[in-house]
């Protein structure tokens, strides 16, 4: 099963859930955790796996052979991102705008463009016992998160239970990370911000037709609004993690809950079993899936 862990809002405890779920599960079966929050990958601060493999992620950007170039302007005309400007005697490439689509090199009538790899991030891998981690790290100052996320997801090992830590928000990196999951766990907190952003995240996963359920973190305060929303939307609340100083203190020191408070091991394992049962049981009515269109 591929299970993604997302949250509309950052800092709700997505990393907490993804890492503890992975650790709890890895005591019973083989697990792979993909940290697709490539702007701020934090899972390994808790797992502390030794990194044994590391590979750059490149995007291909054009390089102009001025000896062949006739300054016809075709490349600049086809580039949708204004990443190339053709002057009378010079072609300028702006690598930070280039998406690496390949249009310019393919369409240059003089074959004056070759592509060069520009590193935008790295993918790293680490392993201990049953647990494998693959994490992506976007280079500082770089804007293109999706290629790094795609590079991480190339390592999906379907022979394992796969857990994906998704970046916060609702935009394209989030969709890129969730794509292909069997289930999406949405982590929220019972505040007006948490609820607002949960609703946005629900819109995303619904649009992608992926069944989902909710984890309420820092539970214990006024939960009424969040509960009402979940009930109205038919979203199952699968786990509550209380607002607790001991939990917050463990977290601040980078100690996983399942190691600092052993009783949580079973709780996270049960969470996984619950989700497996929901996925195996097919698309039950509680997950808010639309009827499939018959052609």
């Amino acid at each position: 099963m591929i299970l993604s862990v997302a949250s509309g809002k950052g800092g709700t405890g997505k990393t907490l859930v993804a890492t503890n779920l992975s650790l709890a599960l890895s005591s019973k079966t083989r697990v792979q955790l993909l940290d697709c929050d490539v702007e701020e990958p934090n899972d390994n601060l808790f797992l502390r796996l030794p990194i044994s493999y590391s590979q750059f992620v490149y995007i291909p950007i054009p390089s102009i052979d001025e000896a062949k170039c006739t300054y016809c302007g075709k490349c600049s005309e086809v580039c949708a991102y204004n990443a190339i400007a053709v002057l009378p005697q010079k072609v300028l490439v702006f690598p930070e705008l280039c998406h690496g689509c390949g249009a310019c090199s393919y369409l240059c009538p003089e074959e004056a463009i070759v592509e060069e790899g520009k590193p935008v991030g790295v993918v790293e891998k680490g392993k201990r016992d049953n647990l494998e981690l693959v994490q992506g790290l976007l280079n500082v100052g770089e804007t293109m998160a999706p290629p790094v996320i795609r590079a991480v997801k190339k390592y999906v090992d379907v022979g394992r239970e796969v857990i994906i830590d998704v970046s916060p928000g609702t935009s394209c990196p989030v969709v890129e990370a969730i794509e292909g999951s069997d289930f999406c766990l949405l982590v929220t907190e019972p505040t007006p911000f948490g609820l607002n952003d949960l609703a946005l995240a629900v819109e995303v996963v619904r649009k992608m037709d992926i069944p989902c359920g909710v984890v309420i973190n820092r539970a214990g305060m006024e939960e009424g609004e969040t509960e009402r929303y979940c009930r109205e939307q038919g979203l199952p609340i699968l786990l509550r993690i209380p607002l607790d100083r001991e939990i917050a203190a463990l977290y601040s020191r980078g100690i996983p809950l399942v190691e600092g408070m052993l009783q949580w091991r079973e709780v996270f394992y049960e969470l996984f079993e619950k989700i497996s049962a929901m996925v195996d049981g097919g698309r039950n009515s509680g997950d808010g899936i639309k009827e499939e269109h018959q052609e």
Binding site: G8, K9, G10, G11, T12, T15, E39, E40, N42, L45, F46, V78, A80, Y81, H99, G100, C101, G102, A103, Y106, L107, L138, V140, G141, E142, T143, M144, A145, S167, P168, G169, T170, S171, C172, P173, V174, V175, E179, E189, T191, P192, F193, N196, D197, L200, E203, V204, K207, M208, M221, E222, R245, A248, A249, Y251, S252, R253, G254
Partner: protein, 283 residues
């Protein structure tokens, strides 16, 4: 006019609560919510929307099945795997237009997409410019530029002293868009390992773009040791340390009452510390 961007790297450090308090303290600012992915500031400022605008951006390819003879060229050349069975998946499509340029039958059209909305609203603290990016849209960076630009225009007209900008989480495209050309950045972090890790990354971005930055630690008493580490790190790096705010449930209470904490409970330590941070960064 001075534009101050409040960032956090990691989400959930309490950045928006701090921004809302700043708005309440100065009353001489235009607020802009650059977290277009998950805008929250309006939940505390309770503004009245006065102007709603569509945000059109980017294009998505569309294949006319009448014209297409399924030669497969576009599918083979698309680097984003956005074309399957001669249909374009609008989510994967990056709008580069390569397919439209090479289709021998001219069966591919590029269509503009409406990628969200942006708003100009009035609150009792001043004008707020905010946005809502459509679901699964790209170009959040562009939308950030749009809201910032309008905030600048409005601040100019209103002769506001500050633009206070609630920045997006992370270090990617929208963060870079919200930073470029700003006068100062304040990073609100928390004393957790992930908070520290992300703080270092986001300070790197600020440095990369030459934006003077300061740091404040929220919920500092959750882990005094880590707070000390952050202070040491800042003095090592020559980054200004703007202050530390204690952990207190009053912040969430204020949130539930939809009020900036400095207004909900002006006398509490949290409020007084936030006030001190504001003085620090505006001096």
């Amino acid at each position: 006019m001075k534009e101050i961007v409040i960032l956090s790297g990691k989400g959930g450090t309490g950045k928006t609560s701090v921004v809302a308090s700043f708005a309440s303290l100065t009353r001489d600012a235009v607020m802009v919510d650059c977290d277009v992915d998950a805008a929250d500031l309006h939940l505390v400022l309770n503004p009245q929307v006065e102007e709603e605008n569509e945000f059109w951006s980017g294009e998505v390819a569309y294949i006319d099945s009448e014209k297409c003879n399924e030669c497969g060229l576009c599918q083979e050349l698309c680097r984003f795997d956005a074309i399957k069975n001669f249909k374009v998946d609008p989510v994967s499509c990056e709008g580069c237009g390569f397919c439209a340029h090479i289709c021998p039958l001219g069966a591919v059209d590029m269509r503009q997409t409406m990628a969200g909305h942006w708003f100009v609203s009035r609150s009792k603290y001043g004008t707020l410019v905010h946005a809502k990016l459509g679901i699964a849209q790209e170009n959040s960076g562009k939308l950030v530029s749009v809201v910032r630009q309008h905030a600048r225009t409005i601040a100019g007209k209103e002769n506001a002293k500050y633009i206070i900008s609630d920045g997006p989480p992370g270090i990617g495209c929208p963060v870079i868009s919200s930073l470029s050309g700003a006068e100062a950045a304040l990073v609100v972090t928390e004393p957790t390992l992930s908070g520290i890790h992300d703080l270092e990354r986001v300070l790197d971005v600020c440095r990369h773009f030459g934006i003077p930055s300061a740091v404040c630690v929220n919920k500092y008493d959750l882990n005094d040791e880590n707070t000390q580490r952050i202070q040491d790190y800042c003095s090592d790096q020559g980054v200004a340390f703007a202050g530390k705010i204690p952990f207190d449930n009053i912040v969430i209470e204020a949130l539930i009452h939809k009020l900036p904490v400095v207004e909900y409970s002006p006398e509490c330590t949290v409020s007084r510390e936030i006030e001190r941070v504001w003085q620090f960064i505006t001096e």
